[in-house]
Symmetry: C2
Subunit: 402 residues, 2 copies
């Protein structure tokens, strides 16, 4: 019920700087008059703010254009070289650390295999620290100019007094990841979020979610998760665990899920569940491949000839469509993005079917206002999205690194 949190007149300035920075970051090079129009600020203020940002080196001029009889407008953009950020993708099989400039071009990377499915916290922490060390030492990178580290982890992240990670699949319970990293010598700011959420953030900024103020990014892998964006901001709920789409009940008298409940979406559409369902119908199991990823690919490829495979995939689309319908009815998003390696593998073939089933399980009006698309950034956007966390903080704070 309470309003925003601005009070002093400097906060106002900070807010306007943020407005200008966000707009410049989102909509590429812009000239001052356009900025004034887009932000609603006066041209005088835009000149002032831009002057500050130019002095600080955050913004640079990017050439002049146009001129139908007047002074040409000078384009402005955020200097990609002003600072760098690091994104970390903690998975169950490996840790990936990438260094980006502000334009999100990758400057360096480090990759570490995990030997025990990520259950050993110390091994993961050591890998992250090694990765930070390595990419920070990359030629031409000033460690003082690294504005932050974003980390995407599989599991729930609790932002309390101390940041805690609960990772069911890796057996992590209340792991104080930030503290462990700081004790290991990592320098703040360290920002941690769920990997599905960071990937969703990446799609929102650079992929299929661009421009949508209300969107849901579905991350379909072995299991299924989602990242909800409302009013342009990631939605976390009261204890930061919103978006657990995997355990929506869609078949109240259906299969038992590994979570113990009955009829969860994940009991049908996660890669693991899809392969289980196929195996049940074809005990001879003709799919090639040892890991889920190649087996799902084989299943999709087989669907043209194998009626069982086609039926399994169609059922998947039907359940996923019902789940998407629930999202549409409940959240009324502008866009739904299907991502994750399994989502892309199956979605490439089945997007139309998914859309049809989703329509059947949605109210007409909200469905009309929703587009359902595939993710554009592939399955490797977790680190990219994680790296946007410090960037977003930087932009929203009006350009201070603190």
């Amino acid at each position: 019920m309470h309003a925003s949190k601005l009070s002093t007149v400097q906060d106002l300035r900070r807010g306007n700087r943020a407005e200008v920075l966000l707009r410049l970051y989102a909509d590429g090079p812009l000239a001052r008059p356009e900025l004034a129009r887009l932000t609603g600020l006066s041209q005088a203020t835009v000149s002032n703010v831009v002057g500050d940002l130019l002095d600080a080196g955050i913004v640079t001029e990017a050439g002049a254009v146009d001129s139908s009889g007047g002074r040409p407008r000078m384009l402005l953009r955020i200097d990609p070289g002003y600072a760098t950020v690091i994104g970390v993708d903690v998975g169950e099989t490996r840790v990936k650390v990438e260094l980006f400039d502000l334009g999100m071009r990758e400057l360096a990377r480090a990759d570490y295999a995990l030997t025990d499915q990520g259950t050993d916290v110390d091994q993961v922490v050591a890998a992250i620290l090694a990765g930070l060390e390595k990419v920070s030492g990359h030629a031409g990178v000033d460690p003082a100019r690294i504005m932050g580290v974003g980390i995407g982890v599989p599991g729930l992240v609790e932002h309390g007094d101390e940041l805690l990670v609960h990772g069911q699949t890796m057996g992590w319970r209340a792991v104080p990841l930030v503290r462990l990293l700081q004790e290991g010598g990592a320098v703040p700011p360290l920002m941690v979020d769920n990997g599905a959420k960071t990937m969703g953030q990446a799609e929102m900024w650079f992929g299929a979610g661009r421009g949508a103020d209300h969107a849901v990014m579905i991350l379909l892998g072995s299991g299924i998760g989602a990242s909800i964006v409302t009013d342009g901001k990631p939605y976390r709920g009261s204890t930061t665990s919103a978006g657990e789409i995997g355990h929506l009940t869609v078949a109240i008298d259906g299969r038992r899920c590994r979570c113990g409940a009955i009829g969860c979406l994940e009991a049908y559409v996660g890669a693991e569940a899809v392969l289980d369902r196929y195996r049940e119908q074809r005990p001879d199991d003709t799919l090639t491949g040892a890991d889920e990823e190649t087996r799902i690919a084989a299943l999709v490829a087989a669907a043209d000839l194998d009626a069982v495979a086609a039926e399994v995939l169609d059922t998947t689309a039907r359940y996923l469509g019902a789940g998407i319908g629930n999202l549409v009815n409940l959240l009324n998003p502008r866009r739904i993005v299907l991502g994750g390696w399994a989502g892309l593998a199956m979605g490439n073939r089945m997007l139309p079917a998914i859309q049809t089933y989703a329509a059947a399980h949605s109210l007409h009006r909200p469905f009309e206002g929703t587009s359902i698309e595939l993710a554009r950034l592939g399955a490797d956007a977790v680190a990219l999205g994680a790296a946007t966390l410090p960037v977003e903080h930087f932009l929203r704070s009006g350009g201070r690194t603190d």
Copy 2:
């Protein structure tokens, strides 16, 4: 991705006035030092702002208290008599118009029966206009001091160029309600929202939702709807139709819903569906009463003796619990409030069962952070909630009526 919309230094003042007003409204009489602490403003600014508000007559002093050796602090509160608001509850059987002071005490009311289930828009508009006329003429009420009219309608409300109401149950299609009312002589501001949402707003402000920043109010009547509150604000989605909980798919191979889809929650837990299910199992139908409301009451009363009734109610609780579980997993709210006449009638007896089933269909962690409660304001809070719309606008704008 964009920030809030403050730019000039006067907006800052307006924001601080709003902060003070919201706090005073929510937390009763407060003294200046407490306001300073709660809002984060300096005592000097609080004095300034309060001075303005006192001069404008919006705030009044409410006696001094305390004094352990110092000057006693003067309590402040919003003057309930500063202005009045009107709330309108448009139902399918009647139109109710109520006049409140700012403290939401009812000063006058008018009630009009509808003869044709509300299908005739003109009749509804005429009833509203008559009601406005009547309560505005109430003794001691200055028409110039009516700060606005809030209207709760059954159906989707589209806030586009022109406000349009789509009411499926009344057969309304794109009805320009505000325009019709203005042409009939009603004076703006007129604010319209879905009745479930206004009722949710009432529970948020004065009922079971107080203090929860993330909550879902479930309105269970003949059908079922919901009002979602995120970060303290009503959530509407991209085309203002969020919260259509009634057509969540919970039983993908289940009953056909009147909306045409299969397995909707509303096909099981709405009063109509509950009575249908009972009738299917007991074609002799021993329930007394002609309308849904008394028949549901009879069903609940019969459950102690009638095993079929008990089973029907238990199934209702199971489906409702699954639906609530979906809300918990997806939105991670702090509180879920069950209201509406059917929700209260059934919830009184079955809340524990609903909670148990909800727990079974929720992830452990988010469920732990959620409380599931019954609404406290009865089934007649639609008009009250509607009346809060202009009040909220007034408070958030810092005390201007424009």
